[in-house]
Amino acid sequence: MSLITVEHVARIEGHGTISVELDGSIVKDVRMDIVEPARFFEPMIVGRRFDEISLITSRICGICSPTHTVTSLKAIEDAMNIPVSERTELFRKLLVYGSFLQNHATHLYIFSAPDYVGLPSVFPLAETHPDVFQRALKIKKAGNELCTLVGGRPVHPVTAVMGGFSQEPDPRELEVFRDRLADLVDDAVATAQMFDSFEVPEFSSSGDMLALVEDDGYAVYDGDTAALEAGWRRPVAEYRAFITEEVFAHSNAKHSTSGGRSFMTGAIARVNLSRDMLMPRAAEVLASLNVRVVEKNTFLNNVCQAVELIDACERCTMYCDRLLDEGGTSVPVEFEIKAGSGVGATEAPRGTVYHSYSIGDDGFVTGGDIITPTAQNLGNLEADMRAFAPTIADLPYEEFILGMEKLVRAYDLCLSCSVH
Amino acid sequence: MFFRVIDKERLPDLIAGLSSEYEVVGPVEKDGRFVFAPISDPAQVRLDYDTTLLPPKKWFLPPKETIMRFCRADEEVVDDEVFAPPRVLFGLHPCDINALLLMDNVFLEGYVDPYYKARRENTLIVGMSCMPTETCFCNVWNTDEVHWGFDIFLTDLGDRYYASLRTVKGAEILDRHVANRAVSDEDTREFQRVVHRFKQGFNNNVDTTQLPVLLDAKFDSPIWDEIGDACLSCGACSMVCPTCYCFDVADRLEPDQKTGLRIRTWDSCQFKEFAAVAHGQNFREDRASRVKYRYYHKQWGYLSKFERVLCVGCGRCARACPAGISPVKVIEALQTGEVQ
């Protein structure tokens, strides 16, 4: 028996180790050890005031901080029954999409692409393929600047508060940005085509796929949870009933199952469940790619992210237009502090994130629960790893490792999120 | 000086007219208070403002300004051009105009500061009469009146303005952009009545006789420790003060480290490092000595050079200080030996 380990897998957000137990070339066991230290966010928020919670939970993840902020605000607004304006929702959507743009560009180009072109990092591309490198930075930068425009800075937004925004961007800047987003569509299309051209192994994940869905749109900010294969659709408030979390000895992150089965969440799940809701250009490009209608090849999560980039650019252009044309206000609504419990769910770039809190009548939090996409994905990832490893076990060591790393990276893991 | 009268409803003509030739900066509302900001529409201008958050000094000495660009390899300045667009500062109260005159002493005497000078030369000043507020004490320093340092000064007579024209340029732009007429005796009588009412409106009357003596004699007074204990060393007072001019200079390299900028930023004598030198020596280490220095310099140091006190009684520091320290309170404390 021998044990292969890849410690602190590079180019993923957070610290994790791949372990493969081999008996000759027979794969005995495969694990993803999450060594990222626990940070105890859930107990940490207990005893803090309702208006500090989104500041704290934003720090679960530096990449999806806009999503955590928005989800956290929604959960507290749900608990205290605070409605927000449509304008506030539009700005929040821009914030979430800003993090999609920046995250997908980072994941695709900085984390994943080097695997497919045989490089240790993206930096050498700056010289060999300056156009690709510049495109990566252009999309990423637009994402950051969208978050900055709306939230005040790229990481950990400042302006998003309970019931609205502390400040709105200058309409002139919004106008400039709208044009910039419209411009970016072509870069997103080129990204999708590039990832479509990369060869990926034939593979089908055994788990189900879960994502938010809405009747009238590509669900990102709101919606119910739907399961692709199990076929159900349920309100997010019931998430505790359809997602079960379990603790495993080798991992500081918990694993999730739904109905006893592992599942995947993220771009591939969203595209599978809501592909009819994509914006025109995104839909058109998707149709032209090699991705099949119901696609369960985990490796194609990358292509699905690229399709979402196109959708995000188109959609945000539309949102900017609406914000510029329609009036309304995002000034925080007046509210009364009261006791209650609430749930918020949003699509983070890498899957659905759930926050739920209970608040006492003094406005201080008495309990909280957070499930991040990566925590949901880990069980499925290990199942995929177990299924995939034997198919490449006879490859030379380096290639075997690269194959496993590619699979892991396809999930766009966020390990610090997973151990929050 | 020459005088003209403008009907109140015609004033927007003047602002709009000036906007065609200059960048016009005037008082506008911000979150319930006022700031001097560029005007795009005469209706934005709030001539009923009490005082602005920052004084007009930022238009001459910006909070942060690149004074030169350099190239590191050959230790050479590549650019020290001053950007000074033609500008009108509209609606300045007498205290703020007087403050600029005090700043002029520093920046235009001795070594001339080319950045300040260029902006000063390219800026026209239109003054505006005001009414005293709670925190105003310009009466104490005689800075409630202003006789030069502006191009036009408008005194509000209710339905019309009494315009004092100090410069050729001022007379010219007034004539060009707004209907005006000669001053009648009644106008001048009304002007006197308004000024009288203004003078009656002050409620701060601190005794400033022999202030330099008081400051020197009380240099070691425990009063300063008491004030020092209350001070947050936050520097808010210096930032909002129209007559505080201290600055810091620091170099910043561009990310490629090849070229860089020499940047000056507003500084404050209330900051701990302000008087620190090498080898751990700091001439004003404790808060009390720093607070004391601010008042000492304003009311005696500057006076010893320019024969005026470096304060115009605008009251901004009193409003900005979270601990409520103000010139009036400090002077009173020195006189009575008690901090109120």
């Binding site: - | 050959d74 230790e75 020290d80 520093v106 070594y111 080319p114 170099d251 390299l253």
Partner: protein
Amino acid sequence: MSAAHTQERQMSSDGNPYRPWPARITSILDLTEKEKLFELRIIDPEIREAFQFHAGQFVEVSIFGVGEAPISISSAPSKQGFIELCVRNAGDVTGALHKKRCGDVVGLRGPLGRGFPFEAMKGNDVLLVAGGLGIAPLKSLINHIHDERHEFGKVTIMYGARNPSEVLFRYQFDMWRHRDDFNLMLTVDESDDAWDGEVGLVTKLFEKIDVDPDNTYGAVCGPPVMYEFVIAEMRKKNMDVDKIYMSFERRMKCGIGKCGHCGVGHQYACIDGPVFSYWEAMNLQGAI
């Protein structure tokens, strides 16, 4: 007193007094572990010729990317075409300067400030007292007196350093030591075997001298703690408060009376000083 004594011409050719002139380092001498002596020549010949200064004045040395530091001119005003700076490595700018090599270019602004009243001192005895790096500005004065020795009476130099390895300008002292028209006294706080001079604080040297109070000028420069004690000794010798001169070190950013950092009492060290008479200094609250 103030404005009249300061140099008021705009320094730089384009009228920007903040803009340094490029100057080349033409020689570097290691004096001690921490101090080096730099010889600098302004590159532009016209400006180089026009550069006239008084002992006690200083320049702002500029290293782009790092900043500026005020440094006293150590060479004599009578020597033209170059200046000497004795610089201790004390931080960013001085540290960066220490890393420079002969032939490198730095920026220079000056001369700045008010120096010693050389003209008024003529015809009198002079007592110069330096502690540590305080010898840097005084050396300029000593050199100037040396060049016009016949104009002065008795010249006494007292110089104290912490230990023999920190004694600056040894080569100069060795020269002066053998002249009988300079009374040179060196002392160190802690001696070593090779030291043949005095041991103890510089104030101890006062026991050994006689002063004619009616016509002696004093010039003092050293660390802040030194002034009080040296002046007490001078006062014991009945020297006049307005004939004792001292140079002050303060934080400076501009050197031309704008930035406010060097405020001392009601004056600015950069334009009203750095040299003040003791009478003036007594009137500067918080100065000594």
